[in-house]
């Protein structure tokens, strides 16, 4: 039972990471109906930026927040410069542009920082925490906590601030929003910035456990896709819940049923399964198109 609980908890910890990346994907999907294949690589690249600053002697937390700010600017820039021209283009062009971004960030990281893996520090204490008879890694607990804090902040931002309201309006009905004076284009750019910032947080939280290398996010991105789809790709809360679910399921299946080698295949089955059986996910809205 103990081992089982530990597996569940470890699943929740990785699930938190998937949840953050899924949240970033959902943010962009909601605003633009595009799935950002480069999300994972942007997160990975931001983590390298944090690593550079920490390696140069900066304390962890200033580097953490500075990285979030840099990632935000990076996200806004990508939207303004690269994504904007293909906004109305066919899906294939958009996918090709995103895949292009993916390989550019991946190769830039490899070019600048080489492909050797790097150790990324954790801000949380190294000693495991006791709760009753159980030992929990402080980093895992911390990562879950950070995810929940990010979620709460985002919720508050979208629910209680005028800017959040404007962003929601721009995503839901661009034309009417423009008529009431919302600058829709900038709202989209802002959405990209926020998504990149969330991705950066996820990257910095996952790097201490999986180590930093240019390909660290490819598996995580897949799980995040699965999480977003399970939860409903247009529902932020659903995506977070989906992230935790996928994390726990993945860990339990890995430990007891299919073994660690087939974990990615599990994500594949989950993605295809959800898309075929219930494309709107557990909590998503069902879309009806008039033909």
């Amino acid at each position: 039972m103990d081992a089982f609980l530990n597996q569940v908890f470890a699943g929740l910890a990785t699930g938190g990471i998937y949840a953050s990346v899924a949240l970033a994907l959902v943010m962009i999907y909601q605003a633009t109906h595009q799935v950002n294949f480069a999300q994972g690589e942007i997160a990975m690249f931001s983590t390298y930026i944090a690593w550079t600053m920490i390696d140069a002697g900066m304390p962890y937390w200033p580097a953490f927040f500075l990285t979030i700010a840099i990632a935000f600017v990076l996200g806004v820039l990508i939207e303004r410069v690269i994504v904007r021209p293909v906004e109305q283009a066919p899906v294939l062009s958009v996918v090709v542009v995103f895949i292009g971004l993916l390989v550019i960030f991946n190769s830039l990281a490899g070019w600048i920082y080489t492909y050797t893996i790097k150790v990324f520090p954790s801000p949380f204490p190294k000693e495991p925490l006791h709760v009753g008879d159980h030992f929990f890694s402080a980093h895992q607990l911390g990562a879950v906590g950070v995810t929940l804090v990010v979620l709460a902040l985002l919720y508050a931002f979208f629910r209680y601030t005028p800017l959040g309201l404007a962003m929601r309006a721009a995503a839901q009905n661009p034309t009417s929003s423009r008529l009431v004076g919302i600058r829709v284009g900038w709202m989209l750019a802002l959405g990209w910035g926020l998504a990149a910032a969330i991705g950066a947080i996820a990257g910095m939280m996952v790097a201490p456990t999986v180590y930093l290398d240019p390909n660290m996010m490819s598996g995580i991105l897949l799980y995040a896709f699965a999480a977003a789809l399970v939860g409903g790709i247009d529902n932020p809360g659903g995506a977070v819940l989906g992230g935790f679910m996928v994390g726990v399921l993945e860990n339990l299946l890995g430990a007891y049923v299919i073994g660690n080698e087939l974990k990615l295949a599990f994500a594949l089955v989950l993605i295809v399964g959800v898309l075929v059986v219930r494309p709107s996910g557990l909590f998503g809205r069902v879309h009806v198109t008039r033909v």
Binding site: V97, L108, W111
Partner: protein
């Protein structure tokens, strides 16, 4: 990206001068292995292999509009089928190619069935997942007896038959060339007629196509199967040429390489597959000299650049330039 109808170019009966030009080109292609080193011959063989794979992906993505980011998986299946047949059962290399094609036809058709329910972005997502998870599936320990696990399988390079006075690399080049010609001829026949028109109609106006009596589901899953078959044949030939298969050479970046190839060569274009193959074979070789990461940076920049500046790809650009030259010289061009 809406490529200009490529069928006009493909279905136009080749004129006499064009036929002569094609014959000269073919002769030049046949003479190439005697003019370059063995290593370059091997590279040219790989161009042909990639061209077959790209034609396959183009049937699906370019002509039928179904985005696949996981065609590396079918290439891998083809390669492994060939390698396992040769390694475990001693099947001659030439017999593995059709088997690989058939296995991939079935695999593609089966994957195409759930894919019917997925459109655009979602299909891209599902195939992306297929591409990412393929290496792990190949490493699966219960398949290790056949796949050789992480180590992969080493296979022997075939000797030229009938005591032909050429070396192994040259023979492999001609063998691949023959299969490539057959595959391209088949593809050209398939795409210039009824089937090709149906595929394009489904891509551009699925509802109208359905109303015109095109069986959308059948054609879409068949396109998936045929596309996978082409890629599987290419995978088998690639395995024989490289003499080695291992899980990590079939990662998601292989699938992305194919996507780069059709975007740069030209979507929905048969010659585009060849231009794309030349690009993905030689550009990384040149760029590798700058840095190990450089080829991918160049791929990325080219992908985005082509989407913005030349969405019709190299094949489309050549077509446009050719049409301009013909108009310039006062003749009444077909285009």
């Amino acid at each position: 990206m809406t490529p200009a109808s490529p069928l006009t170019a493909a279905s136009a009966a080749p004129g006499k001068s064009r036929r002569i030009a094609l014959a000269v080109l073919l002769l030049a292609i046949c003479a190439l292995p005697f003019l370059v080193t063995n290593y370059h011959t091997f590279q040219l063989t790989m161009v042909l292999v990639y061209a077959i794979a790209l034609l396959g992906l183009n049937i699906l993505t370019g002509y039928n509009g179904q985005i696949s980011l996981g065609h590396g998986a079918f290439y891998a299946i083809g390669a492994y089928v060939a390698a396992i047949l040769m390694d475990k059962w001693g099947v001659p290399y030439w017999a593995t190619v059709p088997v690989a094609g058939l296995v991939c036809l079935a695999a593609g058709f089966l994957f195409g069935l759930p894919a019917l329910r997925l459109e655009g972005l979602y299909l891209a997502l599902a195939t992306f997942a297929l591409g990412v998870s393929m290496p792990q599936l190949l490493k699966y320990k219960h398949l290790e007896y056949w796949t050789g696990g992480v180590q992969g399988i080493v296979i022997m390079k075939p000797d030229p038959p009938f005591g032909l006075p050429i070396n192994q690399d040259q023979w492999l080049y001609y063998f691949t060339l023959a299969i490539a010609l057959v595959m391209f001829l088949l593809g050209w026949n398939l795409l210039r007629g009824r089937v090709g028109r149906s595929l394009i109609a489904i891509r551009d106006q699925p509802i109208a196509a359905e109303a015109m009596g095109v069986n959308n589901s059948l054609y879409k899953s068949l396109a998936f199967g045929v596309s996978a078959m082409y890629t599987g044949v290419a995978g088998a030939l690639g395995a024989i040429a490289v003499q080695f298969v291992a899980p990590d050479s079939f990662n998601i970046f292989l699938s992305i390489t194919f996507l780069v190839g059709i975007v740069i060569g030209g979507l929905a274009s048969i010659p585009g597959a060849i231009y794309g193959a030349i690009f993905i074979q030689f550009v990384p070789n040149i760029a590798d000299q700058i840095s190990k990461a450089a080829p991918w940076a160049i791929y990325g920049v080219f992908m985005i650049g082509f989407v913005y500046l030349m969405p019709v790809g190299v094949a489309g650009a050549i077509r446009i330039a050719w049409a301009r030259i013909r108009r310039g010289s006062g003749r009444n061009g077909q285009q």
